[in-house]
């Protein structure tokens, strides 16, 4: 039982042509796995997350297949996906602060949400209260308006709602980026707790903050300009990355204990390509310090070690095998 994504390509339709936001993504998320999805803004990480639950125009499925627990997931069919949304696949959206209806009390809103999914509110109420205890929210919040809660509390409320049906796959989209460090820690630890208590079976955590992923994720997948760059267990990504982009990205992160006078960190020169008309081959080629002729072809995303996949000719290509 797992989530399998094969050759998934999703483009955005615009008047000037297709924006190729996700190109040929193939990966697997195992049972009980929390996979972190990291990358710069515009690298396609949110596109990937959203395409697994609401692939609505202007997004367009070009090709690709998604299988969830052995069942094909009809991601391109908005109607058919209704069977899966919320119950099998659920999302904690970015900016959860705005995800709650400001004109309804939270309990009332929850009732309406459940009714629209044909779930009995009274039957689920004890479980809802248990979940509120789990995220340390008082039961009184059901009688409150969203404006009465702080950002971190709203985020936790949305987490409870999103995972109420014990989805098989939970997608968490930038759930920490608007929070303070102390509530950040609380929120992501609750996400791990959800997984441990099987409120969700597996999770994809989308964030630009790799240090958060290091704390909670089992595996990390790094994306660059719509292509997968590297996927590996968390410790491997942090301590032994092999893709040049991952190496540079990890090297550019300031840590406590690093001062510019002692160790001057370096950014990555250049900027990501426009996805409207991306360059052929590896899209990191222009900024890559080790690029060579072969990089004009798209490198395959291949497994180089157990659980460690990488898309780079230097690491997996002919010269590496020779």
């Amino acid at each position: 039982m797992s989530l399998r994504v094969e050759n998934l390509s999703v483009y955005y339709q615009t008047l000037r042509g297709d924006v190729r936001a996700l190109e040929d993504a193939s990966f697997t998320v195992e049972d009980g796995e929390i996979m972190g999805l990291a990358g710069e803004s515009g690298c396609g990480k949110t596109t990937l997350g959203h395409s697994l639950i609401t692939l609505a125009p202007p997004m367009r499925l070009v090709h690709g297949r998604v299988t969830l627990d052995g069942e094909p997931l009809p991601i391109a069919d908005m109607e058919a996906m209704n069977e899966f949304r919320f119950k099998k696949v659920s999302i904690i959206p970015q900016y959860a602060m705005n995800a709650l209806n400001p004109t309804r009390k939270i309990g009332k809103m929850t009732q309406e949400l459940l009714r629209s999914r044909h779930v009995d509110y009274q039957a689920i109420l004890p479980e809802l209260k248990r979940r509120l205890d789990l995220v340390r929210l008082s039961h009184d919040v059901l009688d409150m308006y969203p404006i009465e809660l702080s950002g971190g509390m709203k985020q936790r409320m949305v987490m409870v709602l999103s995972s109420l049906m014990n989805p098989s796959l939970l997608i968490a989209d930038e759930i920490t980026s608007a929070l303070d460090v102390s509530s950040q820690k609380a929120v992501v630890e609750m996400l791990v707790e959800f997984r441990n208590r099987e409120c969700c079976n597996k999770a994809i955590v989308i964030t630009h903050d790799i240090s958060i992923l290091y704390q909670i994720a089992d595996t990390i997948m790094v994306m660059y300009a719509g292509q997968l760059a590297e996927k590996a267990p968390t410790d491997t990504i942090i301590h032994g990355p092999r893709h040049p982009y991952t190496k540079l990205l990890i090297g550019a992160l300031p840590e406590i204990g690093v001062k510019y006078t002692e160790k001057k960190l370096r950014g990555i020169p250049g900027s990501p390509p426009l996805l409207l008309d991306p360059p052929a081959g590896c899209r990191f080629r222009e900024r890559c310090p080790v690029a060579f002729e072969k990089c004009l072809q798209v490198p395959p995303f291949v497994e180089v070690a157990r659980g460690h996949s990488i898309a780079c000719w230097r690491e997996s290509g002919a010269d590496a095998q020779a």
Binding site: E40, S41, R136, S150, G151, G152, M153, D180, V181, S182, S183, Q184, K185, A186, E189, H208, D209, I210, S211, I212, Y214, Q215, I238, L248, L249, I250, A252, L253, P254, E255, I256, G257, V258, K259, Y260, K264, L265, R266, G267, I268, S271
Partner: protein, 316 residues
Amino acid sequence: MLKLDRVSKVYRVGTFGGKELHAVSDVSFEVEKGQVVSLIGESGSGKSTIGKMILRLISATSGAIYFEGTDIAKLDGPALKEYYRRVQGVFQDPFSSYNPIFKADRIFSMVHDEFFPHAGAREWNDRVEAALQAVGLNPAHVLNKFPHQLSGGQLQRFLIARALLLDIRFLVADEIISMLDASTRIDVLNLVADLKARGLSVLFVTHDLSLGYYISERALILYRGRVVEMGATDKIYSHPLHPYTQMLMASVPRLDRRWEQTEAELQGRPVESLAGCPYFDRCPLADKGLGCARERPALVEGEKDHAVACFAVGKG
């Protein structure tokens, strides 16, 4: 060079302004020439308010801010303009710092018209190019473009270049890299460090503790508008004294070690009592015997260059 003396800012809130919100209370510190000082705090701690008061975008309710010995609240007319020649700010969101219908380099011509109307066109162009090169941009690539054609990092460096055109001594950098991507943010951060080498003082406002450590030699930790700990960055980071600072340090996601299995503290009840310690309701060390609820702890120097406002640790 810049000195804040018991500065407070009180906002009137509520429907008829009947309630008071103490955004900043009794903050005093100094920034020396060529120093980078970090203001670190969570949202609502008043760190941006302090930056805005230094830039005179808002006025202080009480207390005074001195720049090179003069009280900035008393400046007006030409003296105020002189002040802005020396003190400038760069803000968090580079995209909203520009007017999208004009080209981005309009910010340079505005500086020209306002501050250097007598500089000739050629001389001015040379100076703009020199400033752009100083921030690591290639003038040929970035001039004559609209804001949407430039990346966030480029726009942010544009704003720093604009400040460099003036004869600045002091830069208020308010969360300047929090909206930038990991691969470009470090370049902007290094740029701030280079400015320091040119003798500039920087007030670096941030919520990210690792950035504060990377760049500054002194740091102030703010909580609910009050300084709870201040001193040399090394000392604060190597052994934080205040329980709030300790909690912050433990919550920062790091790449060299995982979080300890301690419970993250959640937000406490909003207490608007002015009398006691602001951290009283969340503090694990709070003890009634120490008077945390009644009395406000003052900043006490625990060791050289490291002061903390806490009864539990300050006296011991």
